[in-house]
């Protein structure tokens, strides 16, 4: 067996290994299929070439082998286009497959025109097509390297692969002909190197794992129907996540892409979390596009654009926004971008992209504004009492806390009933009901209504300008001071079980209450009996129990998520216990 046959056979083995490797590791069926077809065609041509050189196989029809050789070149171009335009949806994918159309025609014409495998790269239509395929692949990689900050590194490896194919294909054939040697009859010695480069790029741009997977197919449209990328301008992504839950609730395919796994897995919402590497931006694009390709009309929230900026650089993160806009429009879907934690310059650049920009209200600010309409300037004090009582930070308050706030105010008024009577008590009750009504209507507003900008904080400032004395100011007297004192007392006496329950439910969802009751049963206490020392015990026991749960989880991201939940529960319970001292 001569040296070239050995090298070709080694290459064939490498092709087979790469094919199997990507088939096992990849998460993009379309791309994997294209890669498999490309690798298989190289593999078959290589095996045939070696077998023919060694005289092992009987003669095979030349036009069949020529057809396979055409296939290797066309599929190389298709594969490279697929890797660069990975977010392309099926409609665009189909366009790249038009490159396959000339293949059977040229294979059919080969015997008529006298084209052979050995003379494939000569100046004929056949040679022109082969060079055109490699030229398209090389041209796209060069363009991507210069035009796309996000794809530049990957374009380098793609160009290495394509140049290797060109050197070992047409150029090497020319050299062998020049030296009067017989060419390798279709086999390309650089095929394993090229396939390795393509596989590297395919794996580095693979989508993040999405869990849970939902059945494919278009489903109902939700409240936000715009097929576009929309920026939800809020300090922390609260409305974005709430809207995702609402859209999932209306049976719309919904995905949240974030740095960390979600604290609570909401039913119907799929999630994907970033791997902390420089390819995070591109992988985010492929994740979203693959999701929307399987679920057109879906809803996606990109929660941590700022983290993409520090992982992959802002230019790449900005390109993510642009590409996701195209994906959203092509698939009739909605993509929400959260600019939380972007720097000023990054925000300006994002605004320069002319994406729909929806300003979102801050729940804490609006709640204080609503309370101020009824209770005057002491609203902040009331709100702080509520936050202290529930062990939550002001910035963590969402509209989900409105019901708890109403209960809290109601208890404060009940406390006051023994102290304040007559018209003052009646007035407070009226104010409470007015505040509750506005709070409820505010909490019921979705992102679309909030984006219109009619926020309580804006309305109250306008009202203050128009009226010299407001109703709130009228009541800002002794009764108010008593209400604030009562609220402080309520925050101190709020049942510890309720506070602990909120902490567990916040971190673990509805199952959290069950976990808390299990812990209570273990320490032999009833909900109404627990005191601050019990809270510390519960915090310790929950840390141990949930910690052992985290230990048996094999998925690193899930393990990290559970550990974060445990830590958060422990810290908040300790905070509540400290507040009782």
């Amino acid at each position: 067996m001569n040296l070239s046959s050995v090298i070709v056979l080694l290459g064939v083995a490498a092709d087979g290994w790469l094919l199997a490797f990507l088939a096992i590791r990849g998460r993009r069926p379309w791309l994997q299929s294209t890669f498999a077809a490309c690798a298989l065609s190289f593999l078959v041509v290589g095996a045939w070439s070696a077998a023919r050189n060694e005289g092992v196989l009987p003669a095979v029809r030349e036009d069949l082998v020529l057809g396979l050789m055409l296939l290797t070149h066309a599929l190389t171009a298709i594969l490279v286009l697929g890797l660069i335009h990975g977010e392309a949806l099926p409609r665009r994918r189909a366009m790249t497959f038009l490159l396959l159309v000339p293949v059977p025609l040229l294979a059919y014409l080969a015997p008529i025109e006298g084209w052979t495998v050995a003379t494939a790269y000569e100046g004929t239509v056949l040679g022109g097509f082969l060079v055109l395929c490699l030229g398209i692949a090389l041209g796209e990689t060069i363009f991507a390297r210069h035009a796309s900050p996000m794809f530049a590194t990957h374009a380098f490896w793609l160009s290495v692969g394509v140049i290797a194919l060109i050197v070992a294909g047409p150029i090497y054939t020319y050299e062998l002909e020049f030296l009067g040697r017989s060419p390798l009859a279709g086999a390309n010695l650089a095929a394993p190197l090229a396939l390795a480069c393509f596989a590297r790029v395919a794996l580095q741009t693979d989508p993040f794992p999405i869990a849970p997977r939902r059945p494919k197919g278009r489903t109902t449209t939700g409240g936000i129907r715009g097929a576009d990328a929309i920026v939800f301008d809020e300090r922390r992504p609260k409305y974005a996540l709430r809207t995702a839950e609402e859209e999932a609730g209306s049976d719309r395919p919904t995905l949240i892409v974030a740095r960390d796994p979600p604290k609570v897995t909401t039913s119907g919402v799929a999630s994907a979390s970033f791997a902390p590497n420089r390819h995070a931006a591109l992988r985010t694009v492929t994740t979203v596009s693959e999701f929307l390709a399987s679920a057109p009309g879906g809803f996606v929230v990109l929660e941590d654009l700022a983290d993409l900026s520090v992982l992959s650089g802002w230019r790449a993160a900005g390109e993510v926004a642009v590409r996701l806009r195209h994906v959203a429009r092509d698939s009739g879907s909605t993509v929400i971008l959260c600019p939380s934690r972007l720097t000023e310059s990054e925000r300006k650049t994002l605004q320069g992209l002319d994406l729909p920009w929806w300003p979102m209200a801050d729940a804490a600010t609006e709640i204080v504004a609503i309370l101020a309409q009824s209770f005057g300037t002491g609203a902040g004090r009331l709100f702080d009492s509520f936050c202290r009582g529930h062990g939550i930070r002001r910035e963590d308050v969402t509209t989900d806390h409105v019901q708890a706030l109403q209960d809290f105010l109601s208890r404060a008024l009940t406390e006051l009933s023994g102290v304040v009577g007559g018209p003052a008590a009646h007035g407070l009750q009226v104010q409470f009901e007015a505040a509750s009504s506005v709070l409820r209507s505010f909490a019921a507003q979705g992102a679309v209504e909030i984006a219109r900008g009619k926020w309580p904080s804006r309305r109250s400032s306008e009202t203050d300008v128009e009226l010299v004395v407001t109703a709130a100011d009228y009541w800002k007297g002794k009764e108010m001071e008593e209400l604030f004192a009562a609220a402080d007392a309520v925050s101190e006496r709020e049942p510890l079980f309720e506070k602990a329950r909120l902490v567990f439910v916040e971190q673990l969802g509805d199952a959290g209450e069950g976990v808390l009751r299990t812990q209570l049963a273990k320490i032999g206490k009833k909900p109404e009996e627990i005191d601050k020392t019990d809270l510390v015990r519960i915090a310790d026991r929950a840390t141990v129990d949930l910690g052992s749960l985290a230990d048996v989880v094999d998925v690193p991201q899930e393990k990290k998520r559970i550990q974060q939940q445990i830590e958060s529960i422990r810290q908040k319970l300790e905070l509540i216990a400290e507040g009782q001292e």
């Binding site: 983290d307 520090v310 934690r341 000023e344 930070r393 910035e395």
Partner: protein
């Protein structure tokens, strides 16, 4: 073995293998190059140029991660904590931060301007200053989040609403 010696050995080995490939290539194509001086000059010259270029990058430590971009300034204490691997992360205000993205190398300098290390950025994330945890602070070489905030407040006039970037870094050896 000292880290720098090991890096030098690996780079030299890489360079040697590259040279072997180059010689093997010339030997394999010896008949092709016999056809004329011009071919040898152009192709051989180009390949040799690439080898010299790669060698330069390898010997200056710029392969495989490229040249360092950006720089971070440290106090003497901070720098020592990083070099002694007591600290593994760096917390900086996000505004005007000139650090590159993950996987790249950044120059670490003392505030006096002296470069003392090159740091590979292994991970990065942004967070509100108020969300910093004790664990974040310990990774950065501080006892608690409060200590870290206090240090940052005196240095950069931090406010709780500010955004900070946490970079997990690894020192790549001594100064060059």
């Amino acid at each position: 073995m000292d880290g720098r010696l090991r890096a030098l050995a690996i780079r030299s080995l890489f360079l040697f293998l590259l040279s072997l490939v180059l010689v093997a290539g010339f030997w394999y194509h010896r008949e092709f190059y016999q056809i004329g001086f011009t071919n040898l000059l152009i192709i051989g010259g180009f390949v040799t140029f690439l080898v010299i270029w790669a060698a330069r990058l390898a010997m200056t430590g710029e392969l495989p991660r490229g040249r360092p971009s950006g720089e971070l300034a440290f106090t003497l204490d901070e720098g020592d904590r990083l070099l002694k691997r007591v600290a593994r992360s760096v917390v900086r205000p996000s505004e005007d931060l000139t650090a590159p993205s993950v996987g790249h190398v950044v120059r670490a300098k003392y505030e006096t301007g002296t470069e003392f290390a090159r740091l590979l950025i292994e991970d990065a994330r942004r967070t509100f200053l108020s969300d910093l945890t004790d664990d974040d602070a310990r990774q950065a070489g501080f006892r608690s989040a409060a200590d870290l905030r206090e240090a940052g407040t005196s240095r950069w006039s931090w406010r709780p609403a500010d955004i900070v970037t946490i970079l997990r870094v690894r020192a790549l050896g001594g100064s060059r």
